[in-house]
């Protein structure tokens, strides 16, 4: 029987990994709810406001982006635009090669995952070291992040201890503190050796030209402390109109992502070192990356561009909790990934059209979303697009015949009466795939088609007793 890829992945998944991801995600959801309730009571009005701020930002992106460019330049930064992932990689390697930079330290950035920057730099002979602990472990393992905020949610400390031993960071020791100390010592050396720092940005403000970066490990600060060249890769949708918006967005981001009131290091970077800014890199480059975001903006799913990458929708999602991040075959897992990955795939949409189906449409993602993205509605629109493009949907019953029946009352009533054959044992053995899929783990109740109708008719005739 043809299987949906995510279901297949889940079936084969190691039980230990699934359990760890599920428990960690549930804990994240609980922490988020607790701190939002404690600080704001009902966070819904604030989420709605944040949603409007972000919707305004993306719907006026043409204005904000131009304004952000002006502000950034005024602050002494250089601004670049990259249409495709390849363009973005080339812009970065050009900047690096002009500066003669061979060693790069990098702080966590989803857009660099998206454009596969590390692989590109490696091919050019440039060393690029991830400095976020989780991303560093992903990098040495040749793995992919399985969560937007917690990239190694799928790994155990034993896994990590083995990787460190393999990489020559000391003998096997799975004590978390030892692991962290070893990474810290090793990364310190890398910071001093590096010629350039590559970061993302959580937000860019159009009015003041600030790059806003949040980290809990302080690694982005370290990246910028010892290097002379800073390149920030930023998805074009990260621009907000001004500093005032940050008051709402940063408060919601930290609480939604990690249950913190404020991320430990919340940096506001207003350009390279110069008058009034004695420290920091001498050169700042901001690369605005499109990579199909304008296509998303032009689509009926543009609300997904509000996303501030907090990961709350992953944590709360019952499907993510069972399937885990790698099931989604993309940079962005979980509900946000199920919308974004197919949209960013361009003409490869069919290869990812199954992702929006991997949802019970329970709406928990929308309920926790700090920018109130109607994720279930977007999943539905993508399902409709997949249907309009006549893409196959393994395991789902065909709806054409259903609709034919459900729009003809006489046929519907006949089906209600004849459904009784379902109760006959051998009929349940008929190999209709979707029927088998139900009956493998679930029973069906007794067929009682038409009984309610008969009861209603009897009562109308005056036999009003039950």
């Amino acid at each position: 029987m043809a299987e949906q890829q995510i279901d297949q992945f889940t079936r084969r998944l190691d039980g230990k990994v699934r359990r760890a991801v599920r428990e960690n995600s549930a804990a994240g959801t609980a922490k988020r709810a607790e701190i939002l309730a404690a600080d704001y009571g009902d966070p819904t009005p604030l989420r709605r406001l944040a949603g409007e701020i972000r919707q305004h930002a993306i719907e006026n992106l043409d204005v904000h982006l131009a304004k952000a460019e002006d502000s950034l330049k005024r602050n002494g930064a250089e601004v670049h635009y990259a249409v495709t992932a390849g363009d973005a990689c080339r812009v970065v390697s050009d900047i690096l090669s002009r500066a003669g930079a061979r060693k790069v330290v990098k702080s966590k950035s989803m857009v660099t995952e998206e454009i596969e920057l590390n692989g590109h730099l490696e091919a050019e002979g440039i060393e690029s070291v991830e400095t976020d602990l989780g991303e560093y472990i992903v990098q040495i393992d040749g793995d992919h992040p399985s969560h937007i905020v917690k990239p190694i949610i799928h790994k155990s400390r034993e896994d990590i201890a083995r990787s460190f031993e393999r990489e020559g960071l000391g003998d096997y020791d799975d004590d978390p503190e030892t692991i962290t100390r070893r990474a810290r010592a090793w990364l310190r050396r890398k910071y001093f050796e590096a010629d350039a720092a590559i970061t993302g940005a959580n937000f860019v403000t159009a009015d003041s030209g600030r790059l806003v970066l949040v980290t809990n490990e302080g690694n982005s600060r370290f990246c910028l402390a010892a290097t002379r060249l800073h390149i920030a890769l930023v998805g074009i949708e990260k621009v907000v109109s001004g500093d005032a918006d940050l008051a709402v967005l940063l408060n919601l981001l930290a609480r939604s992502a990690t249950g913190q009131q404020l991320t430990v290091y919340t940096e506001f970077i207003q350009g390279p070192a110069g008058s009034g800014r004695p420290s920091g890199p001498r050169e700042t480059h901001v690369v605005f990356v499109d990579n199909r975001r304008t296509e998303v903006l032009a689509s009926d799913c543009r609300e997904i561009l509000r996303c501030i990458r907090c990961g709350a929708c992953l944590n709360v999602c019952p499907v993510y909790r069972q399937a885990t991040g790698h099931a989604y075959r993309g940079v962005y897992p979980g509900p946000v990934g199920a919308v974004l990955t197919p949209l960013l795939a361009g003409k490869d949409f069919p290869a990812f059209a199954d992702l929006p189906k991997a949802s019970s449409l329970c709406g928990a993602c929308n309920e926790v979303c700090p920018v109130d993205i109607p994720i279930p509605d977007l999943l539905l629109r993508l399902r409709n697009r997949a249907h309009a493009e006549r893409l196959p949907s393994p395991g789902s019953p065909p709806m054409g015949p259903f609709a034919a029946m459900a729009s003809r009352p006489w046929l519907w009533r006949m089906a209600l009466r004849s459904g009784r054959v379902m109760d006959v044992g051998p009929v349940q053995k008929i190999p209709v795939p979707w029927m088998r899929a139900w009956l493998n783990t679930r029973t069906l109740p007794e067929w009682r088609g038409g009984k309610f109708r008969a009861w209603m008719r009897d009562r109308r005739k005056g036999g009003d007793e039950t």
């Binding site: 019952p318 329970c362 697009r385 249907h387 609709a403 209603m456």
Partner: protein, 253 residues
């Protein structure tokens, strides 16, 4: 979820039984009718009704969905409130329809139906303002709120109603806000994920040792009941919220 702000709430109602009650759960539909009648309603059951269109909507086959919904709009035409014992079908009418008919010439016709749709508990509590419920039903119940009532008044309304029935004790259970794993065609398209979700829900429910698992939606109960029926843990008795209210009425004589 967009819920219409102004909906008619008179005591003459059109009853949408739902396709699941039509096929399997006539008891729940009967209970809903009796409950509405107790609340003083004249209940009209349009015989030509079929389905709300949600299975096709969720499958992405929107042309099929619109075909079914256009039929529903014909069957339920007029100005009367449309009441259904399912948060999911109600949400299909007042939320899903608006999406499925974006850019369609008859969007307003569907919108007119959407503006009259009520989930049963919401209608009783917020439409009719039912203040109390007679009778007694001594039972510990675990109440599962259907996901399609998130952000609507249905969940709190159901708990209000359960709280009105003497003898009913609502017992909380772990991760109560997580989905049961049904999701319509999701349950057969992704049987492994769906089953795992449902088993987790059942584990939590069983730990709370309720006499009944109660919900305002038979779809969740179809899934959870079906899973329990095949598990070593054995059956978990399920009741629609309307059946709890009906049992209390019968006790009242």
């Amino acid at each position: 979820m967009s819920v219409p702000s102004q909906r008619p709430a008179g005591r003459k109602v059109l009853f949408m039984a739902t396709c699941l009650c039509d096929a399997f759960f006539d008891n729940a539909a009967r209970a809903a009718v009796e409950v509405l009648e107790h609340a003083g309603c004249e209940v009209i059951f349009p015989e030509d009704q079929t389905c709300c269109g949600q299975p096709a909507f969720n499958s992405g086959n929107w042309p099929a969905c619109r075909k079914v919904m256009r039929h529903a709009a014909e069957v339920f035409n007029g100005d009367l409130p449309v009441v259904t014992p399912s948060g999911s079908c109600a949400a299909m009418l007042f939320h899903g329809a608006g999406i499925a008919f974006e850019g369609e010439p008859d969007r307003e016709v569907i919108g007119q139906l959407a503006g009259r749709a009520w989930e049963l508990a919401d209608f009783l509590v917020n439409g009719l303002g039912v203040p109390s419920w007679p009778g007694r039903f001594p039972a510990r119940v675990a109440f599962h709120q259907a996901c399609h009532t998130r952000g609507t008044a249905s969940g709190p309304a159901a708990l209000r109603l359960l709280g009105m029935v003497e003898g009913v004790e609502v017992t909380p259970f772990g991760e109560g806000d997580q989905c049961c794993g049904f999701g319509g065609t999701f349950s057969v398209g992704f049987p492994h994920v769906s089953t795992s979700m449902g088993q987790l829900k059942l584990d939590h429910v069983r730990k709370a040792t309720p006499d009944f698992l109660v919900s305002g939606d038979m779809s969740c109960l179809l899934h959870l009941g079906g899973l329990a029926g095949k598990e070593p843990g054995g059956a978990v008795p399920t009741l629609h919220l309307a059946e709890v209210l009906q049992k209390a009425l019968r006790d009242d004589g």
